[in-house]
Structures are given as C-alpha cells and as structure tokens.
C-alpha cells in the first residue's frame, strides 16, 4: 500500500534521480538522438516541484494529474507528451484515492503504457520507453497476482525494466529521432527506456527505504 505521503516522496525521489542523471541521459541521447533528453526531463521535474507542493494535501489522483500537466507544459520534445500522458492516465486510476494498493499499481502501469502507446503510436521493440515499461508491467502483474508484497513485486519490475533497457541496445530504433540512424542505432541504449527504468527504480528505492 502506498499512502499519499509516500507517493509525494516517490515524486521527490524521481526528481532527484532525474537531476542526478541529467548528463547521463543527455549523453545517451547525443549518441542516437538530438541530445536533449536529460536536459528536458530535468527541467520538467524541477518545474513540477512547486505545483506538487500546492496540492500535497489532495488525493493521489490530483497529485499525479498535477505532475502530468507540469510535464506536458515544460518538458517539450517527445518525452513531454508521452510522460505527461502516462502520469495523466495514472492519475485517473487513483482519482479521489488517498492510497494506492498493489492492484492499483498494476493498473497504473497498464494505463500509463496504454496512454504512451496511443500518443506515441509505438510498440514494444521500437526502441522506446515501452521496452522498459512493458516488461516491468508483466513482471509486476505476475508478482502481484501471485500475492507477493508490493515492494518485492516492484523489485521484480525494476529488474525486468533493466533487462528491457539492455535489450534496447540490441535493436534498431523505429520511433523517434534515433530512427533516422537506421541500423546505426544498434549497440546504443535508448535514453527514454533508461529514464523509465530510473523512475521505476526510484519508486522501488523509496518503497524499500520506507518499509
């Protein structure tokens, strides 16, 4: 169970992790994209800080929607609409709720992924954030259905996401600017999949720390 206050800590942790990896994500993007992923994500998460603070007493849905609107209006590029849509869908799952159950967490990830697919018209294997998120969802869902506690289930999701990031090194990009490189994008890790993994890992770290 994730209480609202824990959710706020997760958002803080994600902001910190994205900030700490700003250069790393930008370097990955310079290799196969246009070299702005870390810069844009960091700008976006720094910008939501005050907005989230203003709704910290509200429900989980309101908080997630605030993150979504903040990202949409500050990140730009492809990641702004994609992560913005993902957080928007996540917020709809827990509208008016003060707590997020393990089942909600599975639903959140599912809805977020569906939102990204609809907005980005991408599929698994296109060398995008979906290559980290979809394996993470599969692992999370299986673990939760087997009755594992959320923290353990999340640990498995993070592991699967990490595997997904490694997988992006082996494939050519079919979406985003890396696509223009054709097979030259093989051998390089996808920056979007990496930021997705970092976010899931940040959530897991908060869960283990607070447990």
């Amino acid at each position: 169970m994730i209480h609202r206050d824990l959710l706020l800590k997760m958002i803080e942790e994600i902001t910190m992790v994205i900030g700490a990896n700003k250069q790393y994500l930008t370097d990955l993007d310079q290799t196969i994209g246009d070299g702005d992923h870390g810069i844009n994500m960091d700008r976006g998460f720094r910008a939501i800080k005050d907005k989230v603070e203003a709704v910290k007493d509200k429900d989980c849905g309101t908080i997630l929607k605030t993150v979504a609107m903040g990202l949409i209006s500050t990140v730009g590029g492809a990641s702004g609409p994609l992560y913005g849509t993902a957080f928007m869908k996540a917020g709809q799952v827990v509208a008016n709720k003060m707590e997020i159950t393990a089942e909600d967490a599975v639903k959140i990830l599912d809805e977020a992924i569906q939102g990204i697919i609809a907005r980005g018209k991408a599929a698994q294997g296109d060398k995008t954030m979906l290559d980290a998120l979809i394996p993470a969802y599969d692992a999370l869902k299986a673990a939760v259905e087997e009755g594992e506690p959320l923290t353990n289930a999340m640990g498995k999701a993070v592991e699967a996401a990490e595997g997904g990031v490694a997988y992006t090194k082996t494939i050519a990009a079919k979406k985003g600017r890396a696509n223009y490189l054709g097979d030259r994008s093989i051998g390089h890790q996808d920056p979007g999949a990496t930021s997705s993994y970092l976010m899931l890992k940040a959530i897991y770290d908060v869960l283990t720390r607070e447990a």
Binding site: T26, Q30, I32, G33, D34, G35, D36, I39, N40, R43, I72, S73, T74, V75, G76, G77, A78, S79, G80, P81, L82, R119, G120, K174, K175, G176, R177, N179, Y180, L181, G182, R184
Partner: protein, 331 residues
C-alpha cells in the same frame, strides 16, 4: 563551449526579445509565452498559419511571421518541440475566425505536441487543421517508422500556403495547397561540422578534420553516412541525385532553395547553387526561382541543404505573391 550568450537557460527568451526589438513593425511576443505573432493579429476573416518547433533554426520560424507567410511561430527550447500550451496560445492569438492551419515538421515530438494543442483548440471550438512536412530524402520512408524529417522545404510551405491564406482561401483550400507543396518538395542536407546545444555544452557528434556527414538532420542528429570530404560539386551531385530519384521532375519547372545550416559562408552556398543549376539544366529541368541563404539553420553548423520544389501554375503564382516578413521580403 564558446558562444555569444548570457545563460544557456535563457537563450530562447532573450533571442525573442531581441527579435521583437528589431522588428516591431512585424511581430510582437505573447506575454509569458515563447510565441511571436503578427503585430496586427488576429487578422479577421483570414485563415491563420501557425508553425514552430525547437529553436536553433533561425530565421525559422519567427522570421517568417508577417504578411503573406505565417501568423504565428512557436519557439521551443533549442532543438526541442514546443509544448502544447504554447502552441495553443499561438492558435488563440491568431485565430481570426476562418480557422488555423498548423504547419508541423515530421518529428515524433512536434507531431505529439501540436496534436495535443489541436485537441485543446477543438475543445474551444477553434477550427484547426494540420499538415506535416517530410521533405528529407536522406531518410527512407516506411509505414513502420517515424518517416522522413521535415527540413528546409518547410519554408516553401510557409511561403505558398501563406500566400493562399492571404488571398482569402478557405482553411480547406489552404491546407490543400500546403499538401501540394509537401507532395512536390524534396530536400537533402550535409554537414562539415557538428553544432553545440547551449544547455548541453558540447557538440552533438564529432567529425574529423577530413570528414563530412551526409544526410544529417537539422538538430545535429547524425546523418545516414559519413564520408571523407569531397569537392563541392561531388557533394551536390549526390544530394541532387537522391532528390531527383525520389519524384519525377522530368520536364518540369522548379524552385530551388540552397539553405545554409548557420555556419556556412554564402560563397559556399553559391558554389553549391552553381552545380545544382547546371545539373538541372542538363536534365532539362527549368529553374523558375532560386533562393540562396540561411532559411532553416542548425545553430552554428557548417553545411547546407538543397531543396527542389516542382511547380505548377498555381504554385508559381503563390510563390510570386508578395510577402513582407523579417526574414523574407518580396514586394
């Protein structure tokens, strides 16, 4: 990084402020947004054109805001698509009741952000249509991929669709004209040096002293292949061959744009044009109009692109129509 800037975080805002001070006759900036619109926006009863994208392509797109071309231009961070709320503000500010055409370059981010802005506009009952420019023949097209990029050919869309809107055509008609331009324009570029995004602080890729990158995009994204640098004529030959192989230009009249990427001397652009025009002449393709200069740049990158637009009578007339903007004046 060696740049004439104050702070990487404020380059876009500070540039726009400078543009407005330089061209108060043409443009004003929307308070709180990185959007330039015509001084007299909205023009009542006229279809409005809005374009935009990441910054770093100056004079695109703000330089083309004015009579006969764009009504509004949205400036994202350097090489980063602007956000939907910014595009939406532009749409609201220029809408004169006849609808708004969004001219979008084919990049994953631009498509999504402009699409979200169009959804916002639809919710407020503003009539919006979009066209997507994808003129770069360096990228192979496929249903399964992002598809071709929009590069310098976009300026022809601004000019010609802008003239159609100025002539009082409906949103549907202006969109049709824009699509005709898109169907008939092809481009390809190359670079001699990379460029540095101010916030990144280092070049987007590296090229040895004797190397060039063929088919690269306007965001410093690497091209389709790297080669040892060759004489200008050989480079141009490759670019033009790729363009001419893509659509049938036989016996047609064309408009040519030799576009500098920001760090190329005009001397070199004219040397490129010399070869382009002789190649077209040899093939019996008549050059109706030639534009040489910096239209769609990539910061300080050295290199250029060639765009060739196949014309018919309608496109010729619209291309010749008057335009009065900071970066393109034709009276």
């Amino acid at each position: 990084m060696k740049k004439l800037i104050n702070n990487p975080e404020f380059v876009v805002e500070e540039m726009l402020e400078g543009v407005v001070k330089a061209h108060p006759k043409y443009v004003r900036k929307l308070e709180g947004f990185n959007v330039l619109v015509r001084t007299n926006s909205p023009v009542q009863g006229k279809v409005a054109l809005v374009s935009g994208g990441g910054s770093g392509h100056e004079p695109s797109h703000g330089g083309f805001v004015g009579k006969g071309m764009l009504d509004g231009a949205v400036a994202g961070a350097v090489f980063t698509s602007p956000t939907p709320d910014q595009v939406f503000e532009a749409v609201k500010a220029v809408n004169g009741g006849a609808g708004v055409l969004l001219v979008v370059k084919n990049y994953t981010g631009d498509i999504m952000n402009f699409e979200m802005a169009a959804e916002m506009a639809a919710m407020e009952d503003i009539q919006v249509a979009s066209v997507v420019v994808n003129d770069d023949v360096a990228v192979e097209n496929s249903t399964w991929t992002t598809g071709r990029r929009g590069i310098a050919g976009t300026v022809f869309v601004h000019k010609i669709a802008g003239a159609a809107a100025e002539a009082g055509k409906s949103l549907e008609e202006v969109k049709a004209v824009a699509e005709k331009v898109i169907a008939n324009v092809r481009s390809m570029g190359m670079s001699l040096t990379p460029c540095t995004v101010p916030a990144a602080g280092k070049p987007s890729f590296e090229l040895a002293e004797n190397e060039m990158e063929m088919g690269l995009g306007i965001h410093g994204e690497p091209g389709t292949f790297r080669d040892v640098i060759k004489p200008a004529d050989e480079i141009v030959e490759h670019l033009v061959d790729k363009i001419l192989a893509d659509i049938d230009y036989n016996g047609s009249e064309v408009a040519v744009m030799i576009n500098g990427l920001g760090g190329t001397p005009l001397m070199e652009l004219y040397i490129m044009n010399r070869k382009v025009s002789s190649m077209l002449e040899e093939k019996g393709i008549k050059v109706y109009k030639t534009l040489v200069g910096n239209y769609m740049t990539s910061l300080e990158m050295a290199g250029g692109s060639v765009s060739i637009l196949k014309l018919d009578d309608e496109l010729k007339e619209l291309l010749d129509a008057t335009a009065d903007t900071p970066a393109f004046v034709q009276l």
